[in-house]
């Protein structure tokens, strides 16, 4: 049991793997909402690493930053989903490979 005890590196490893899963999702998935959810996953992975560093140094800065990241992520989710709804209204499709109206 002692050798299984988590250290700072264990938490960071979980965070890194979650961030990589989010990155792979953004690069491979084509549904706009799923891409958006993968971005949320990446935000959460970074939050986990910030809390780990905060715990490591017994310092409030990381925890406070996580608090603010959560608030901004909530605002970002609202605006992003409303953009997706507006896109769906206009094009009836949120496949990101078909959304190239800004492409020159």
């Amino acid at each position: 049991m002692e050798s299984l005890a988590p250290n700072a590196f264990s938490y960071l490893a979980v965070s890194i793997v979650m961030f990589a899963i989010g990155t792979i999702g953004v690069m491979t998935r084509r549904n706009g909402i799923v891409v958006f959810m993968c971005i949320e996953l990446m935000l959460n992975a970074v939050n986990l690493s910030l809390v780990t560093f905060s715990r490591m140094h017994n310092d409030p800065t990381g925890s406070m930053l996580v608090f603010f990241v959560m608030c901004v992520a909530a605002a970002e989710a609202v605006v992003g989903l409303s953009i997706i709804i507006a896109l769906f209204r206009n094009k009836l499709d949120i496949d990101i490979n078909n959304l190239n109206i800004f492409k020159w």
């Binding site: 005890a5 250290n7 890194i16 491979t28 996953l41 715990r55 608030c71 989903l81 709804i85």
Partner: protein, 168 residues
């Protein structure tokens, strides 16, 4: 005893969290992907709890697993999306994405390998509501007030962007 509990919490929630992430990556049905992401968010709340960050753990459940994911599920159900089709047609792109992701994991694990010496013992002073509230009202007062402006801007922006143009 405390270390044992932390060990159990860590392994259970680490495995559940990564399973949730993989579910998000591979589920073609967006509703199942969203449910996997909820599992992941709950697991991250558990990991916060094992790091003695109780306040952030509760906020994670309330804001992410509660509010944000309900919003996502609501939009998915509203749009009535069909399953993604033809995901497998981009073999080279998918393979490239997986190679890049695994390279990222290896690189970051190599960079942070020295941190395995930190045992995370002792108590965490800033996990409870009172010290966080004190910090918010003293050192982080301006960002705390700016959050309200950001939330108001997001509220108005979301209404403006998503409204129907029929009536205005």
């Amino acid at each position: 005893m405390e270390a044992t509990l932390q060990t159990i919490l860590f392994w259970v929630f680490a495995i559940l969290g990564i399973a949730g992430g993989i579910g998000l990556l591979f589920n073609r049905n967006p509703v199942y992907a969203a449910l996997s992401l909820i599992l992941n968010f709950f697991s991250i709340a558990g990991l916060y709890l094992s790091l003695q960050a109780q306040f952030l753990s509760i906020i994670q459940v309330l804001v992410y697993a509660g509010a944000i994911m309900v919003l996502f599920l609501f939009v998915i159900m509203l749009l009535n999306l069909e399953h993604e089709s033809g995901v497998t047609t981009f073999h080279t792109r998918r393979a490239l994405a997986f190679v890049l992701g695994l390279a990222f994991v290896g690189e970051m694990l190599y960079v942070f390998r020295g941190l395995s010496a930190y045992k995370l013992e002792g108590s965490f002073e800033y996990g409870e509501v009172e010290p966080i509230g004190y910090q918010l009202m003293t050192y982080y007062l301006l960002p705390f007030e700016m959050i309200s402006v950001i939330l108001l801007a997001a509220l108005i922006g979301a209404i403006i962007v998503a409204r129907s143009h029929k009536y205005i």
